[in-house]
Every structure is written in structure tokens, then in C-alpha cells.
Amino acid sequence: MTALPETMGEFETYFDETIERGRRIEPRDWMPDAYRATMIRQIAQHAHSEIIGMQPEGNWITRAPSLRRKAILIAKVQDEAGHGMYLYSAAETLGADRADLTGKLVSGRQKYSSIFNYPTLTYADVGVIGWLVDGAAICNQVPLCRSSYGPYGRAMIRICKEESFHQRQGYELLMTMMRGSKAQREMVQDATNRFWWPSLMMFGPPDAQSPNTAQSMAWGVKRHTNDELRQRFVDMTVPQADKLGVILPDKDLAWNAERGHYDFGPVDWTEFMAVVKGNGPCNAQRVARRKAAHDDGAWVREAALAHAAKHAASPKNRKDAG
């Protein structure tokens, strides 16, 4: 039987060995403060992204072109809410407080993925978001199912199953539009032009400028580097674009037989920085909308508590009644 650790040094060794063996860290285990802080930040930002991510597509629910598309889009947006909830739940196992995290999101002190600061101008955007944005998210998320932090990995398994529906409904929507009129095909191309580069930015800065990657990989909370995942996404997406009949807006995009990968042009990190810093097209609107929803719901949360308290106090509704 493995001896249980007793000193601080032994705790660290035990933690390191657990990760080295590919085992999971669970909520009540000892963990370095920096690991805990990193995991809370990572999970919270991911949760915020899911919650804010409801908005760009939610805008289109009332204007869906058919009942079928509307039902699909509602289900998808509901999934995003669910993903946010799974993730806040995982963050809470680390001692974070959900209300506190929401407070930091609506006060702008914590960020979410910059991809959601771009507007959705046409219904083709719904399809392109499913295809490219959710496709990129899947590339990022599948390896996270093996995150060293147990609750996060388990949430990611659940999320990945659902993301597959998101990507496929998007691609199917685009295929339908590409079979339609010239104007519809142009909408798809236009949406692709607008979302292609922001999707590549989702993988984060080049490895050379990612000082945290090494630590995150050592901890098993990140499994591949930003550039590896970006390349994987490009390689997966090019044949899908060909099949769809859209052109990815990159003149440098070309198969490199020597590398066995597609080469692609440089990402405009200045734009990325500007969007993250709050100067994207929709930053202020997204946060204001989230804050309004939270504030407008305050009376509901309080009323539900009051109802629960009154209900619990009533003798005929006591738990052991009957």
C-alpha cells in the first residue's frame, strides 16, 4: 500500500506522481496553490465563454428561417447555457464561488473568448459559427477530456458529445444554403470570410509567445500547444471548405507535401489584441446584455428563495410528512 503523505514535500511529490501516472486530481486532494488558481481561471473563463456564447446566435432565434431551424437553434443555445453550468459546477469544486465569478464577468474583470465579440450579421453566420467556431472549440476541447483535473475532464466529455451536434447542424445548414440561390451562396462565403481568421485566433498566440504553455502541459491541464491545435484545425477544415464550395480567405493557404500539412498565412494578432482589450465590435454589448439579464433576474432569485423558505416552514410540507 502506498504510504499517505505527511509533510508538505511529500504532498507535492504525491501530487506530481499522480499527474505523472496520468491519474486525476480530485477536488479534495492537496494541490499547489498555483494549480488551483490556474484551474479556476481556466474553467471560469471557459464557463464565461459558453454563457456569453449564447448571445451571437441567440439573436437569430426569433428570425430563424423555418421551424426546424428554430428548434435546432434553441436546442443549441440551451446547450451553451448547459455547458456554462457544467463548468461553473466544476469551478466550484475548487472553492470558487459562482456568484463571485458571475460578478467578475459582468464587471469586466474576467474575460471570455474574443470570438464572441464579433457580430452575427446573417443567418449564414449561425452555420459558420457551428462549422468553424464550434469546430475550433472541438479541437481545443477534445484533449481537455484528459485534463488532470477530474471534474473539468468529466465536464469536457459531456460537452464534447454535445459540440458534435453543434458542428454538424452548422455544416448541414451551410450545405443547404450552398444548394440555394446565388445570394445565399454569397452569404455563406461572406460569413466564412469574416469568421475564418477569428477562428484561427481562438487557439491563442504562437507557441513562442505562450509562456504559460510549458507549466500547463507539465500539469496536464493542456495537452497540445496552440500551434499544434491550430494546424490540426486548418488541416481538418480545408477539405470541408472544398466540399462545401467556399473559399477560405487566405491566399497563402496551400498543401505542403513535405510537412504533410497545410501552410497558412500569418494571423493578425494586433486585431486579436484590440478585440480582447475591449475594442471588438460587440464587447460592450455582450457584457451589458449579460449584466442586464443578471440584474433583471435578481427578483426571481429572491422570490424563489422566499417561496422555498415559506414552503419549508409549512408543517404539511415538511420533508418527513407522509
Binding site: 500500500m1 499517505l4 505527511e6 511529500e10 504532498f11 479534495r28 486532494d29 492537496w30 488558481a37 479556476i40 481561471r41 481556466q42 474553467i43 473563463q45 465563454s49 459558453e50 456564447g53 446547450d79 448547459g82 453550468m85 457544467y86 459546477s89 466544476a90 466550484e92 470558487a96 464561488d97 459562482r98 456568484a99 463571485d100 465569478l101 467578475k104 474583470r109 471570455y112 473568448s113 474574443s114 475550433a136 472549440a137 481545443n140 481537455l144 471534474p151 465536464a155 460537452i159 454535445e162 481562438m202 498566440p205 505562450s210 504559460n212 504553455t213 500547463s216 491541464v221 493542456k222 496552440n226 494578432w269 489584441m273 480582447v276 435578481a298 432569485r301 424563489a304 428563495l305 422555498a308
Partner: protein
Amino acid sequence: MTKETFTAEGGHGAVPVSDAPVEPAAASVRSDWPLYEVFLRGKRGLNHVHVGSLHAADPQMALHHARDLYTRRNEGVSIWVVAATDITASSPDEKDPFFAPAGDKVYRHPTFYEIPDDVPHI
């Protein structure tokens, strides 16, 4: 460019690593709904298994939320919700030899006993 650094370790991509600190905070607002842990029976014949948690004003609301959150695709046929504060858990604490009693009782396992290969059905 600033010195701000970014990471894409989370699911939806690049976010700054210099956000507001997120150290565990026990403080909770008065109007917070309590935390419930959720257990699902995936199908008949299986045990209920822990799937996560959620906040709700009371157990009935917790059940409804659990249905919406954890069974959107027929993942369960039965749900338990338990107030998180009502759960008593063993501790992974270093001084706690909680599981030690089982550690040295190898005779509780069938493989402890040597039986000749030619004895059938055992």
C-alpha cells in the same frame, strides 16, 4: 503590443492570463441559491451516479433544473438531488488512515487462496 499574455488552454480559445484574481472565495451573497449535488440513474439496472451540481432555491427546483441540465438527451431515468451541505465525505487528509483497514487484508480476495488447476468450477 502590451505585455499581457494569453492562453488557449480553455475550451473556447484565447483569453488573457492576467484577469482578476480567482482565488477561492467563500463569500456568498444573501440571495444565492444553495448548492445541490446531482445523481442520475442512466437506465434501469444501474446505480445512481454523481454527475455534477447546480444551484436551486429548494429541492423541487433542484430536480427540475437537474432534468434540464443533465438529461437533455435521455441520459437518465431517475434523479436524486442532495443538498451539498448534507453530504459527509471521507477526507483525503494525510493523518487519516481511513482506508488502511482494507490494505492489509489480502485474504478477503479470492486470489489469496491457491487451488490446484484441476479442481473444476472454483
